[in-house]
Symmetry: C2
């Protein structure tokens, strides 16, 4: 059977199980030009929370009654599309279900030789590309500069920090809890880590960034963004990648310290990865190389059972996970 | 006698007369290398409010007991400096006083042939330069794009809008009251004006900017900034020049809609005019040319009497003025 989660209602605050409907349906069969993918891993991304809202964004909202949108990686089990054959591994956005029917559009073949399948949802997927272009294209770090990143042990943040190290920067990560901070400095090579759950973040940034912050890569918003703004260097770049602290709030907390942009002649800029489509190959080449040489380390936390999708999604917001969160179907 | 206003205490909220001390002193005399300027006009600028605070900024705070910092224009009445002679008109930052002693550093000679003296505190002074570099360098408007500017009838905003028109943009100004709005559209050639005191600003922006906003030049902050952010076009540029609505508040209102930077892949960037020193001549050449051809119109509201400095300063915050506010000594 195909196990499917559809959006049942638009969440108020944190998404609840009742915001989704769970359905079972026959495994789809391929028509002309189509293929069927058995989905092995479903990606859990903070952006999914935004897609549930009925508001103007960079992508249309998921409609009520539609399969919940999600990135996926799986294996072709039936194909009437000449570009795909049974056994191919493909990554795409086939949603929260165990089998996906596709006309091939938006699917890309991937190889398990370079990395395990789930890595194509993390460092070699959307999060890795977001880190790559967000840091290098928007943040434009130069060797010797200080790069600060929030949600630093997460799927995007961990790649941001490691690329910044590769580029010769001083790298400071903000994460929640001693274990994540230890992971940053001891396993990923960050120069310093700040535990926002147990430290005065503003003071800790000042201490860890004695030359102030040249690039701040923000995944969280809220007070941490304000603390970073208070510590900008002249001509700093603030990359707005996300605001996970705000996604479940009814009213967004705007950055009170935004006038630091004036004082420091700094820039705050957002990005959406879809804009970089024609440069994805460039990013994959670098990310793949760094993965092969060991300069880029990845960690996925694999949770089991598509039935647990709603509760697993909440781990993104509680922070009860390490690295990239994926659901094994 | 030299009439002098010094900073007496750091204001809480709106500056009061008691935040300044008024003193009279003998007119200074020039020592070797020095000159004495009889100040004719004192500039009243929103930035002055920030200079009164004891906080990190792009310039050191005015100290308690120091002559209040202000831009000035006047006439040399005594000189023992070979670069200046009696009768020269000079612009500088000689502060809120009727006579200024100087070693010549920071003073520039100006000519009354191109424009009256007070214009060197407005369109041909700091406000004009701020408009020029803020719009062209940070905002980077292209012909056919829509430029939105707040405090649009003010010293900076009015120049921003007129330069944007010269560059072929659709220009929409936000100002307070029907008279200012009429000034924008009927005298300065703006395509549309929004009266924030009598209109729903967000809806009015949507109506006046059917192709959304490509460049938003912000002088005010607060809710108007949020309304502009809600109407950004893809890859829009938001120029943070000031935030007059917030300068007297104990807590800054951050822009709740800052995630529009992500949705629209837009940029928010601050500027300080001092950074452009080596390009001032380029700006003066353009501004002077536009003034001469009539493409750039200026308006100064001249208030009389240095004794009225504290109350005149408040007109910046109440909006009871039109164009560039100056005080005739």
């Amino acid at each position: 059977m195909n196990k499917i989660f559809k959006l049942a209602s638009r969440p108020q605050g944190l998404p609840k199980r009742s915001d989704f409907s769970y359905e079972e349906a026959p495994i789809p069969t391929a028509g002309d030009g189509e293929l069927v993918v058995k989905i092995h891993f479903i990606s859990l991304d903070p952006a999914m929370r935004g897609w549930m809202n009925d508001s103007r964004s960079y992508i249309r909202p998921v409609e009520i009654g539609e399969v919940m949108r999600a990135s996926t990686v799986g294996e072709v089990i039936e194909s009437k599309n000449p570009q795909f054959k049974v056994g191919d591994h493909v990554v795409g956005m086939q949603g929260v279900q165990s089998y996906g029917l596709s006309n091939g559009k938006g699917l890309s073949k991937v190889s398990t030789k370079l990395a395990p399948l789930q890595t194509y949802l993390g460092a070699l997927g959307g999060p890795g590309l977001t880190a790559y272009f967000g840091l290098l294209d928007v943040g434009q770090p130069k060797a010797g500069e200080t790069v600060l990143v929030s949600a630093a042990s997460g799927a995007v943040g961990s790649v941001v920090g490691q690329i910044a190290k590769i580029k010769g920067c001083r790298v400071v990560g903000i994460a929640g809890g001693a274990e994540k901070c230890r992971y940053l400095t001891e396993e990923l090579g960050f120069d310093a880590a700040i535990d926002y759950k147990n430290e005065d973040v503003r003071k800790a940034i000042r201490k860890a960034c004695p030359d102030r912050v040249d690039v701040y890569f923000d995944n969280v918003g809220g007070e941490i963004l304000d603390h970073a703004l208070a510590n900008l260097n002249l001509r700093a770049r603030v990359v707005i990648c996300g605001a996970i602290s705000q996604y479940n709030e009814s009213s967004i907390q705007g950055p009170k310290n935004y006038l630091s942009l004036l004082v420091s002649r700094a820039r705050m800029e957002g990005l959406v990865i879809f804009d970089y489509k024609d440069r994805f190959m460039e990013a994959y080449a670098d990310l793949g190389k760094w993965l092969a040489t060991g300069q880029l380390k990845t960690k996925e936390q694999v949770e089991e059972g598509i039935e647990n999708f709603p509760e697993t999604l909440l781990r993104l917001f509680s922070g009860e996970k390490m690295g990239k969160l994926v659901l094994k179907v």
